[in-house]
C-alpha cells in the first residue's frame, strides 16, 4: 500500500469517527491511537477544525440567503381544512367509540356490583322492629318515641331510593339525594343516618356505575375507606375499587 493510500484510509477512519459511525470498541481503539500517534491526531484535529468552521461559515451564508428570500406566510388552504376536518372527524369517532365501549363496560360493572351482598345496617332489621336496630342500646332509655318514628320514615325513604337505584330509576336524582345524606351523616353524628353510611356510600357507587360513570364511583368508595377505615364493608370496598381500576 502506498503512503497516499494509507493517508486516504486514515482520513476515512477519522471521518467515520467524526460521523459517529464507529462501534464503541472501534471508537475506544481510535481514541487510544490518537493519544499515541501525533500525526493521526494532527490530521484529525485539522479535519475537525475544517468541518466546524465550514459549518459555521456555510450556515451563516445559507441563513442570509433564506432571510433575504423570506418565507411565505403560512396560509391555510382548502386542502388543509379538508385534511384537518377529516382528522377531527376521525378523532371524534374514535373518542365516541371509546366512550361508548367504556360506558357499556362501566354499566356492566355496575350490574355486577349490584349483585354483591354487603353487611347492611339498613336491611338487617325490619321496619316493624326499628327498636332492634340500632345502636345496640336500650332504646327505652335513650330513644324517644317520636325520634323512632322519624327514623322509621327516613329509613323507609332510603330503602325507596335504593330500590329505585336497583331498578335504574332516576339515577342522577337519587345520587344527589344520597350524597347529601352521606355528607350530613359525616358532618353530624346525631344525624339519623350516621349508622347507615356504609349503605349510602355503597349505593352511591352502585348508582354511578349504573349511570356509566366509573371515576366518581371509585372516588366515593375511596372517600368512605378514608373516613371510616374500620368499616365492616372494607373487604368488599377494597375488592370493588381494585376491580374498577
Amino acid at each position: 500500500m502506498t503512503e497516499e493510500q494509507e493517508t486516504i484510509e486514515r482520513d476515512e477512519r477519522i471521518e467515520k469517527f467524526l460521523k459517529g459511525q464507529m462501534t464503541s470498541q472501534e471508537e475506544s481503539d481510535f481514541k487510544e491511537e490518537l493519544s499515541k500517534d501525533s500525526d493521526l491526531k494532527d490530521r484529525a484535529v485539522s479535519m475537525a477544525l475544517l468541518i466546524k468552521n465550514m459549518q459555521s461559515v456555510g450556515q451563516e451564508s445559507d441563513d442570509s440567503v433564506i432571510d433575504a428570500v423570506g418565507l411565505k406566510p403560512l396560509v391555510f388552504t382548502p386542502k388543509f381544512w379538508t385534511w384537518a376536518g377529516s382528522m377531527a372527524a376521525t378523532l371524534l369517532l374514535c373518542i365516541g367509540i371509546f366512550q361508548y365501549v367504556y360506558h357499556n363496560r362501566t354499566v356492566e360493572m355496575g350490574e355486577a356490583f349490584a349483585e354483591v351482598v354487603i353487611p347492611s345496617d339498613l336491611f338487617q332489621y325490619t321496619t316493624s322492629d326499628p327498636m332492634g336496630t340500632v345502636r345496640g342500646e336500650d332504646s327505652s332509655t335513650t330513644v324517644f318515641e317520636d325520634t323512632l318514628k322519624r327514623d322509621l320514615v327516613m329509613e323507609n325513604k332510603l330503602k325507596g331510593i335504593i330500590s329505585d337505584i336497583d331498578e335504574k330509576k332516576n339515577l342522577l336524582e337519587n345520587i344527589k339525594a344520597l350524597e347529601k345524606l352521606y355528607d350530613e351523616a359525616i358532618d353530624n353524628q346525631q344525624c339519623t343516618y350516621y349508622y347507615l353510611t356504609d349503605d349510602i356510600a355503597w349505593n352511591i357507587a352502585k348508582a354511578y356505575l349504573l349511570k356509566g360513570k366509573r371515576k366518581p364511583a371509585i372516588s366515593i368508595l375511596e372517600k368512605h375507606l378514608q373516613t371510616y377505615p374500620n368499616t365492616k364493608i372494607r373487604p368488599q370496598v377494597e375488592k370493588q375499587i381494585k376491580e374498577l381500576k
Binding site: E4, T7, I8, D11, F17, L18, K19, G20, Q21, L34, S38, K41, D42, R43, A44, V45, S46, M47, A48, L49, L50, I51, K52, N53, M54, Q55, S56, V57, G58, Q59, S61, D62, D63, S64, V65, I66, D67, A68, V69, G70, L71, K72, L74
Partner: protein
C-alpha cells in the same frame, strides 16, 4: 416576485459548480439545455425556500440546489424522450452527517487550543485555494458522495477525487501546523 440580490449572488456563486456537475454527468446534453435546466432549478429553489419546502436541517442550500438541478435534468431528459438512456435517480449525498459532539471532542483535543482560539479559521476556510476549495467544501460541507464530487470537480473518477481530497487535506493540516508554529 423579484429575487433579492443575496439569492442572485448565491446562484451565481454556485453556477460554475452546478454547470460542471451537469456537464460531466450528462456529457451528451447540449449546453443550451444545461443552461435551461439551471435556470428552471434556480426558480424552483427560490419557490421551495419561500414555501418552506427546504429544511436547513436536512442539507446545505448548495447541496439542495445541486439535487434540484440533478432532478430537473433527469426530468428534462425523460420529457425529451429522444435519449434512449436516462440514468436512474440516485442520491448525491452521504446520509450520515458529522456529529457535533465528536467534532468538539477532536477540537478540544488540539495540542495548542490557546493559539487556535486566536486564529481566524473562518477566513481561512472561506479563502482556500482552488481546486481544494471546491473539493473540501463539496465533501465536508455539501456532504457529496465521491462520485458526485468527481463530477462536480471534473475529475476522472472516485479514486481521483479521493486522492485530490486527501492532498488538499494534507495542505490544510500543514497550513494550520505552520500557523501554530509561527504563533508560538
Amino acid at each position: 416576485m423579484p429575487r433579492p440580490d443575496e439569492f442572485e449572488v448565491f446562484i451565481k456563486k454556485e453556477e460554475e459548480k452546478v454547470k460542471a456537475f451537469l456537464r460531466n454527468k450528462f456529457p451528451h446534453v447540449p449546453t443550451e439545455d444545461v443552461e435551461d435546466v439551471i435556470q428552471e432549478s434556480a426558480t424552483a429553489l427560490f419557490d421551495n425556500i419561500r414555501n418552506r419546502k427546504y429544511k436547513k436541517e436536512d442539507c446545505s442550500l448548495s447541496t439542495y440546489y445541486m439535487s434540484i438541478c440533478h432532478r430537473q435534468m433527469l426530468k428534462h431528459l425523460r420529457k425529451q424522450g429522444s435519449n434512449p438512456f436516462v440514468p436512474v435517480e440516485e442520491s448525491l449525498i452521504d446520509i450520515y452527517n458529522y456529529k457535533t459532539d465528536n467534532i468538539d471532542f477532536m477540537v478540544h483535543n488540539a495540542s495548542s487550543p490557546d493559539i487556535l482560539d486566536k486564529l481566524d479559521l473562518k477566513e481561512m476556510v472561506k479563502n482556500l485555494p482552488e481546486p481544494c476549495k471546491t473539493i473540501l467544501w463539496g465533501f465536508y460541507w455539501m456532504n457529496l458522495k465521491m462520485k458526485a464530487l468527481a463530477d462536480m470537480c471534473g475529475l476522472k473518477g472516485e479514486d481521483s477525487a479521493k486522492t485530490t481530497k486527501s492532498r488538499c487535506m494534507t495542505k490544510f493540516k500543514d497550513a494550520i501546523l505552520q500557523i501554530i508554529e509561527d504563533n508560538r
